[in-house]
């Protein structure tokens, strides 16, 4: 059981890494893009926007944490 737990923890760390917020931004961005495409739109700019926002929020958190410490 602990081997599976360790493997899942490793997998999480390997793929998601230090900040899950960026991964969430990617998944939500892709989901909204797919929904918009199904509605007949072609919002090619939507995913890049989510990516920039996700990365920006994550970096901003590091700056804030650094200031507080």
């Amino acid at each position: 059981m602990s081997a599976i737990k360790n493997f899942l923890a490793f997998l999480y760390d390997f793929v998601v890494g230090d900040d899950w917020r960026m991964s969430l931004a990617v998944i939500v961005g892709l989901a909204f893009t797919a929904m918009a495409v199904r509605s007949g739109l072609n919002p090619w700019w939507l995913l890049p926007l989510f990516v920039v926002a996700g990365l920006g929020v994550s970096l901003r958190r590091v700056v804030r944490r650094n200031r507080e410490s």
Binding site: F14, V15, V16, G17, D18, D19, M22, S23, V26, I27, L30, T33, A34, V37, R38, N42, P43, W44, L46, L47, P48, V51, V52, G54, L55, G56, S58, L59, V62, V63, N66, R67
Partner: protein, 250 residues
């Protein structure tokens, strides 16, 4: 070869070069301090496990329908690439220590010297584990990039070729130098790989979600340029902010 194929070759080459330099440092530390026999056994065992992973996952990935593959692999590549890019921006702006192969070598060597093997001719579990873990963990990132890039491009052999050239080059240089390869501009390479992975992830992920990019494949170089510009602007702004904070607290 078209631009996409060159991008595939270059990305797998750069990613593999960076990871091989890191693995080489660990293997060198284990070999010099604990002896080469068990260290090299660890390297061979790790390469064997990585080869099995490629053999098991490679054909399966190619069999997945291309739209599903683009969506899933694009998302994974994007998440993975953003990790690389985030770390690279943090290093470039001074929020995270630069990757220093000399320091890593010294640390690994000091730890390896703490409990020296009693019988130098016997199997050394520590040296084996150290080199196995180093090669396996760094190699797994290369395998991930080679398989995802290669599968989505329908050309795993080309991605594997880029990775293999990098491994051979780094090992040859390493054997000649016989020291940690600290002169390799690792942080710059990681920055570049982060930009490539993120850009390809955006391109393929959005295509997998059903998007038609303006200009089709011509959009990819534009995405790479915009991603690079955003990353450089972020690194520059954060560096200035950090310097201002240092001045304010002084």
């Amino acid at each position: 070869m078209n631009a996409g194929a060159w991008g595939l070759l270059l990305s797998s080459f750069l990613a593999s070069a960076v990871e091989t330099v890191e693995a080489f440092t660990i293997v060198l530390a284990a070999g010099i301090t604990r002896g080469w026999k068990s260290t090299l056994l660890g390297v061979v065992a790790a390469l064997g496990v990585l080869a099995v992973i490629v053999a098991l996952l490679g054909p399966g990935l190619v069999a997945i329908p291309i739209d599903v593959l683009r969506l899933v692999v694009g998302a994974l590549l994007l998440i993975f690439g953003l990790q690389w890019l985030r770390k690279a921006i943090l290093r470039a702006s001074g929020y995270k220590a630069m990757h220093d192969e000399v320091a890593i070598f010294a640390r690994e060597a000091a730890e390896a010297r703490e409990n020296p093997p009693t019988d130098p001719s016997a199997f050394d579990q520590y040296a084996f584990s150290l080199s196995f873990k180093g090669v396996f963990l760094e190699g797994l990132e290369v395998v991930f990039i080679v398989l995802t890039f290669g599968a989505i491009h329908g050309n795993i052999p080309l991605a594997a070729l880029g990775a293999a050239i990098a491994v051979v080059l780094v090992v040859i240089v390493g054997l000649v130098v016989r020291a940690p390869l600290s002169k390799v501009p690792e942080n710059t390479l990681k920055f570049t790989v982060g930009i490539m992975l993120t850009s390809f992830g955006i391109f393929w992920g959005a295509e997998g979600a059903g998007i038609m990019w303006p200009g089709n494949d011509a959009a990819l170089p534009v995405i790479v340029l915009v991603t690079a510009a955003c990353a450089l602007v972020a690194a520059g702004a954060m560096k200035r902010e950090r310097e201002n904070d240092v001045v304010a607290t002084a």
